[in-house]
Symmetry: C2
DNA sequence: TTAGTGATATATCGGAGCGATATATAGTTG
DNA sequence: CAACTATATATCGCTCCGATATATCACTAA
């Protein structure tokens, strides 16, 4: 039976304790979102499929009048999660509109081309702040692998911002060709 | 009029010379694919839209019996491309199944968790080879911005592979907790 | 007290993106 | 000349994502 990676995100997120779809979404948004996002439109249907396949088990736990189903992982689900973890990762994708603009920046006058890099760096630095704010929370959870991934993300973001800065100066340097001081 | 980033990929790719949809796809696959992919299912319909909007102009240039339309950018198209380049980039996304598996690697015995990092590193090194093979071609084209982006990609991939290696040794080190030498 | 705001909870829709495939013709090579 | 690869266009199904709809609940400010 073929499951999407998003299915395994769900299995991984409920491995420690049962959770509702809403909670899973919140967890994803606060952690894996930087390298694997998931929307409600994926999570809720996927929970149903996983339930039918016997990999999770839903229990109604309404809060007051509001219905609510929390899903727990089953033995088969844990097995499926481990099997997936053992298979070599396949998907690696990146979509970066900044790099795309930089790629075509020849169509702009040099001074404006630098602006693309500045925007990219600003974005990375904003991202960096978000990641750094997460760090104490992840440390508190005592989750070594999420912390490793987070610190990797921080290091990468710093590298990226630094690269943008270096490319900015590289562009500004030889730009003296036109209108030298 | 709202255009997708993929529309601007097309405009950028035909800026220097008119090209067919097939040629555009080939160019994308050999360059921007690493940070912005595009399929035939996007390119051909988008070319029609761009043509209706007057940003490109299609001319029939059959080769023998096989029909073929090459598209050239118009003045309006060049303007639209420059306007887009001047707007700050929005989209930045990443999907990395390896990081996702590493995030949940607690569910595996430590020795197998290291395997995730090894797979990731192998993938990055294979990618690195591909990128390095592109470099002489891009140098020959004398395209400074594509070359900058490519070298950035190479540097990033090297950083990523190095990070994987460092994390592997980090995992192997304190693993002596269980069954010490 | 009640109106408003924000969090919890589930569900669905449209659009974009992507891989795969279908259909042809053209050129190349064993 | 048969088989294979490259050129060229088109489409289908699937996943994914953002946005939105619908409720209920908790809290708070007028």
């Amino acid at each position: 039976m073929e499951l999407s990676s998003t299915a395994y995100v769900i299995l991984g997120m409920i491995r420690r304790q049962p959770r509702s779809g809403y909670e899973i979404k919140a967890l994803v948004d606060g952690s894996t979102r930087f390298f694997w996002a998931a929307s409600y439109g994926q999570i809720y249907p996927e929970l149903k499929r996983l339930s039918e396949a016997g990999l999770v088990e839903g229990v109604d736990e309404p809060r007051g009048e509001r219905r609510r189903t929390v899903y727990a992982i089953t033995e088969a689900g844990e097995q499926a999660l481990r099997d997936w973890l053992r298979r070599p990762p396949q998907t690696y994708e990146m979509r970066d509109e900044g790099l795309l603009k930089l790629f075509f920046a020849e169509a702009l006058p040099p001074r404006e081309a630098v602006e693309v890099l500045r925007s990219m760096r600003r974005h990375r630095l904003a991202d960096l702040e978000q990641l750094q704010e997460l760090e104490p929370k992840v440390i508190a959870k005592d989750a070594p692998f999420p912390l490793m991934v987070l610190r990797g993300g921080i290091e990468f973001t710093q590298w990226f911002a630094g690269w943008c800065e270096r490319m900015e100066t590289q562009l500004l340097g030889p730009a003296r060709k036109e209108r030298s001081s």
